[in-house]
């Protein structure tokens, strides 16, 4: 139901009513409630797909193939930014609603924690094969970079203009490169 995403571009989640959703979506009230308990439930269902897409994409940051360069890393970041921007209202709503809706918060913090474990494991595999400096604290580094990215997407990318976004994406990629890959791959 992309209707919700369209509506979120114009109004906040708390001002959005189930009535607006069913009217714009052209579905009946009873059908809505067959599938969803309330609008928070719908938000969680919609955003879960987008967050899964972002997580799978982010995994590429931590599994750069041998011989890949900063340019390849730039492509991965650009893809992430594109996905984020396409769904930024939905994702911003998740951040806001998570503060007061425990169920929504639970869904996404579990996804996030699981993702961090996958990121750290992936990076550890790279360390085992010498593609990443083995001295790097894989677990905490992915935590720091993920939290930074999450906040920056919301507060910098989500509010920036086209030119700013390009430069911000470039700088983010350099931070990832220098932190994770530069030492093992530039020497």
């Amino acid at each position: 139901m992309p209707v919700m995403e369209d509506l979120l571009a114009e109004t906040t989640f708390s001002d959005l009513g189930v009535d607006d959703l069913i009217r714009q979506g052209g579905i009946s009230r009873s059908r809505f409630y067959v599938h969803f308990e309330d609008k928070g439930d719908l938000l969680a269902a919609l955003a879960a797909d987008t967050v899964t897409e972002l997580i799978d994409h982010t995994l590429q940051w931590w599994s750069l193939p041998p011989g890949a360069t900063l340019k390849d890393l730039v492509k991965i970041t650009d893809g992430l930014v594109k996905t984020y921007l396409a769904h930024r209202h939905l994702l911003a709503a998740v951040v806001q609603v998570s503060t007061y809706d425990a169920r929504v918060r639970e869904v996404f913090s579990t996804m996030y924690e699981d993702a961090l474990v996958r990121y750290a494991d992936t990076l550890a595999e790279q360390q085992a094969t010498g593609l990443v400096d083995p001295r790097l604290d894989a677990q905490r580094t992915v935590l720091l970079l993920s939290r930074m990215t999450e906040e920056g997407f919301y507060h910098l990318i989500g509010t920036g203009s086209g030119r700013d976004i390009k430069r911000l994406a470039g700088a983010l990629t350099v931070i990832i490169w220098k932190t994770v890959y530069a030492r093992a791959r530039e020497s």
Partner: protein, 213 residues
Amino acid sequence: MSEPTVSRRARRRREVAEELLEAAKPLFAQGERFAEISVARLCEEADISRTTFYVYFDEGKPELLQAWFDDVMEELEGISEAWWKLDGTSRRDDLRSVITEIAGAYHRHADALAAVFEGALFEEPLSSAVDEVLDRNAASLESHLRRGQEQSWVDPSLPARESAQWLIMLLERAQLRIVQGVDPVELQMLIEAQTELLWNMLYLSSGSDRRAA
């Protein structure tokens, strides 16, 4: 002539803000959100009259959040000064002590800052006030990086402005969720990981002889 009065009021305002914070902490610990705690309840827990509350915070709860935020940021200002003094002669230990102070402040004041950042998602002018302080910190870090680039102790290929913006996201906005509620051992590990990240990112390339520091 009026200055002592003003500062006495400011001092008392700060005390009241601290008392309210201390009273709110047990409620936060039980999972209550600042947004859902009424002024009446807050005052009752703190044993402060509502009249007193509104003498100092006539705009209500968002103004109290602003006071909590200002207090922490004032503490962090001194820490940042120490950071801007770093240069080509600084060692990893110097950077580590700056990061230790920042992470420590966010860890100590996590309750207040969690309420502030959450409030800033919904409330104006709080949101703009937070943005303004963090933008200013990013601008200071940017100047620091530019000075380093001119003096060849920061990698000249780094985009100074955008790097500073991201690093402030890490050190400030994300810092809260990174350190909130962790034990002292984990806090130390997180400080170490951030020191490593910033040192490699900003300073390492200027001299490989400092790598072992």
